[in-house]
């Protein structure tokens, strides 16, 4: 048996070595963002285009999930802020479908590497999960994929495997001189609106406010998402970028995050929409996402909050925003 195992180990050196070489090879940012065109309406390609090829500046970026995509009208916010402030302030909605704080980090990192951003507003939610964003390994740069913070989640083995596949695909494309970019990027800005209204029966009222006593596993689950939020904040601070949080609940969620609020508040200001503003069934497209009227109310409220809380806008005339 010993001789057999020795031979198997000897035999495994070549394939393992090759696999590690592929895993640690550099993933070009364009290849990364365009590698999953079928996901999230090819939004990865759009984010790449907005950050790397579009020369329009980004002054304020909203980074979050599909709640950001459907809730933040960046064109409206750009217009309102620019009109009030008197100079052009470009706002970008860089949301990407589904939860995953490491995805927020990836977007922030690439954004900071290419644009001189003044403020980043990160979407936060209730009930942070210890699972990784499914697309993260396809988009992540190698140093982030193998970063110790990546180890503390339930998908680490599959993340390494999928990260390996993303790099293998790039290697094959290079050898075969194929273009990896597929699909048509979305035109302009990141907000995606829906005029329709949800079936009221599908909107479940929130439970009475309560704070769970977290057990060991639940506390462990929060290590991973919190570590990535902290990395994102550290990255922003290192680049003199102001960070704000915006709480975007589903229709069913509490008026404010019960378990994570103190964590969020210990790092940055948390913008929490008043429940009476958005807790109307006519403002929701479905259980999780606002429709156009809902997004408009949220965006106008956000403008007011940005004037209050961002250094960038503190000197602007704040009285005119409501009138507009």
């Amino acid at each position: 048996m010993k001789a057999f195992l020795k031979k198997v180990i000897l035999f495994s050196i070549l394939p393992l070595g090759l696999c590690l070489a592929v895993l640690f090879s550099d993933l070009k940012r364009e290849n990364a963002w365009t590698s999953v065109p079928e996901d999230c309406d090819n939004r990865g390609s759009w984010i790449y285009q907005r950050i790397f090829t579009d020369t329009t500046s980004v002054d304020i970026a909203f980074i979050g999930t599909s709640r950001t995509i459907n809730g933040i009208q960046d064109t409206l916010i750009t217009r309102l802020l620019s009109d009030v402030d008197g100079k052009k302030i470009n706002v970008a909605n860089l949301g990407y479908c589904r939860f995953g704080t490491e995805m927020q980090f990836l977007i922030a990192k690439d954004l900071i590497s290419k644009k001189k951003v003044r403020t980043i507003v990160l979407e936060v939610n209730e009930g942070l999960s210890g699972t990784s964003h499914p697309i993260y390994p396809y988009f992540a740069a190698t140093e982030d994929l193998v970063h110790p913070a990546s180890l503390m989640n339930q998908n680490t083995p599959s993340n390494y495997y999928n990260g390996f596949l993303a790099r293998l695909t790039q290697l094959r494309a290079t050898i075969l001189s194929e273009s990896q970019s597929e699909g048509t990027p979305l035109p302009n800005y990141g907000y995606r609106g829906y005029p329709g209204t949800a079936d009221p029966a599908t909107l479940i009222e929130p439970d009475a406010p309560h704070k769970r006593e977290l057990n060991f596993i639940q506390r462990f689950d929060k290590i991973y998402p919190e570590a990535w939020i902290e990395r994102t904040i550290a990255l922003c601070r290192a680049n003199n970028i102001e960070v704000l949080f915006v709480y975007l609940p589903s229709y069913h969620d509490q008026a404010q995050p019960q378990e994570e609020l103190s964590f969020y508040q210990s790092h940055a200001t948390v913008l929490i929409p008043e429940q009476k503003q958005l807790h109307r069934k006519s403002l929701w497209r479905d259980h999780d996402h606002l429709n156009d009227p809902g997004a408009q109310i949220l965006s106008i409220w956000l403008c007011e909050q940005l004037f209050k809380h961002t250094e960038l806008l503190k000197n602007a005339n704040k009285n005119t925003i409501s009138a507009q």
């Binding site: 035999f11 070549l14 090759l18 696999c19 596949l165 293998l168 094959r172 050898i175």
Partner: protein, 477 residues
């Protein structure tokens, strides 16, 4: 849990490590490990089907024990009927009920009747055709007194649940496999390494060749679009390569896995595309299944003993059943009929003419017949198959040409060249196996051997399909 997945690799390492633990060096404990790992492996597909597997296994175990004890022919006949009915009714219910119900409804509606037929919303348990036939071979062999019934349930359950062959064969025969679970095997390094070698070759056939050629075949045979004859020929050739590399690749991996556990499974393929007659093809293709149909259907029907006409009828019945075994669809039945007709015609020509054709011509003729059959086998429906044959016969003209289907990675001339080289490698290995040369050279020359391993690994890495790889074709049967 597909053989070509990371989860299977982890499972295999864990199963191997536990199986050879020094503390488990008794037959009973080893069999227990085989049963647990097999049940886990099968349960990963769908835990509910595990109950079905154990239900039929329990019935067969006790039927065989009763058969052993009984000398009364009437009682023995009743007992074997219990086994046949329990196994075939499960197979019929899960695999064929909807097909027969829908077909009958369709025929009656064509005749102007509109009866209400029910269809069952059931998922086909993976590998049901394989383990049912394996279980049946055991009870039939005990009934025929070719085999003694097993008294120990651990041996019988290990025979049924041994994971490498559980979901797609080879359909192990009890006299060959059961003794291997009755003795305590010691670890044989040479045997285990030959298993790893088989697995590597199987992965090459599956991931590099079958999965890449499936892209061409699937595009045309998906039933969408109107393809030209050149596109259909290319897809038929691609499917011919795909199905062989897929299934023989699976069989190699299964046999290789089994060898890691000291178990020798029967060979399922013997270079079938080198066959020089249809009969020869069926002695080389899916040997465990064709052998099963020969021993348990064709010979009991009378075989070739009762005159030429009866032999032809028996052949056709066997091939029709073999087609139906593959899948509950008319395409499979017609595919069986096609091969049955070809074999009967071949027998007639052999009897009535003294025509002697060169070997290469015979090989080519057999290959053309086989490829024509694969079109029916792969088509979405008989109507689709009819359209493909009509296009090939020049009665119809498709608008989607060969260049239209060679897109994506197949659009790259370099990729196509690499695939041709991979096929050339496959051909050389198959040819050396066919001619019985080269294997010894491979085993004796260490540098050549390790260079071959390295080349296969690099090719697997560069050209293997790992992003959502297609499942093995025969898993659906």
């Amino acid at each position: 849990m597909l053989f070509n997945s990371i989860s299977f690799a982890i499972f295999l390492i864990v199963a191997f490590a536990i199986f050879w633990l020094p503390a488990l060096q008794t037959v009973r404990r080893r069999n227990l490990i085989v049963i647990i790992t097999g049940s886990f492996f099968y349960g990963c597909w769908d835990i509910r089907f595990l109950g079905l597997l154990y239900l039929t296994a329990t019935v067969d175990f006790f039927v065989a024990k009763s058969l052993e004890k009984s000398d009364q022919e009437k009682k023995r006949r009743r007992l074997i009927l219990v086994s046949l009915i329990s196994n075939l009714s499960v197979l019929g219910l899960f695999k064929y009920f909807n097909f027969f119900s829908e077909s009958t409804a369709q025929i009656l509606s064509e005749l102007g009747f509109h009866p209400d037929f029910i269809t069952l919303k059931v998922v086909l348990p993976v590998g049901i055709s394989f383990y049912t036939f394996q279980a049946l071979s055991y009870t039939i062999d005990v009934y025929k007194k070719r085999l003694q019934a097993i008294t120990r349930p651990d041996v019988y359950l290990a025979y049924i649940t041994f994971f490498p062959q559980l979901v797609a064969g080879p359909i192990a025969r009890a006299p060959m496999l059961i003794p291997q679970f009755q003795r305590l095997n010691t670890f044989n390094e040479t045997f285990a390494i030959s298993g790893l070698r088989l697995m590597l070759w199987g992965f090459f056939k599956k991931s590099v060749i079958a999965d890449n050629f499936s892209v061409v075949a699937d595009g045309v045979f998906s039933g969408q679009g109107h393809y030209s004859s050149s596109a259909i020929i290319a897809a038929a050739l691609a499917f011919t390569i795909q199905i062989y590399c897929d299934f023989s690749g699976y069989s190699d991996i299964a046999r290789g896995c089994a060898r890691l556990f000291g178990i020798d499974l029967m060979k399922n393929f013997r270079t079938p595309y080198f066959a020089n007659s249809i009969g020869d093809f069926w002695r080389r293709w899916h040997i465990s299944m064709s052998g099963w149909f020969r021993d348990y259907v064709y010979i009991p029907l009378g075989g070739s003993k009762s005159g030429y006409l009866k032999k032809s009828i028996n052949l056709m019945a066997t091939f029709l059943l073999s087609g139906l075994w593959h899948g509950a669809g008319w395409t499979y039945i017609l595919w069986g009929a096609w091969h049955g007709t070809a074999l009967i015609t071949e027998n007639v020509l052999q009897r009535r003419t003294r025509l002697r054709l060169p070997g290469l011509v015979k090989n080519t003729l057999v290959l053309v017949i086989v490829i024509a059959g694969w079109i029916m086998f792969r088509a979405e429906s008989v109507v689709h198959a009819g359209r493909y044959y009509a296009t090939l016969a020049g009665m119809d003209h498709g608008i989607i040409g060969l260049s239209d289907i060679l897109t994506g990675k197949w659009g790259s001339a370099l990729f196509r060249g690499c695939m041709v080289l991979a096929l050339a490698g496959l051909f050389i290995v198959e040819y050396t196996i066919e001619k019985g040369v080269g294997i010894r050279h491979f085993q004796e020359n260490r540098i050549f051997r390790w260079c071959s391993y390295a080349l296969i690994i690099v090719v697997l890495l560069l050209f293997g399909v790992y992003n959502s790889p297609p499942a093995f074709i025969y898993f659906q049967f």
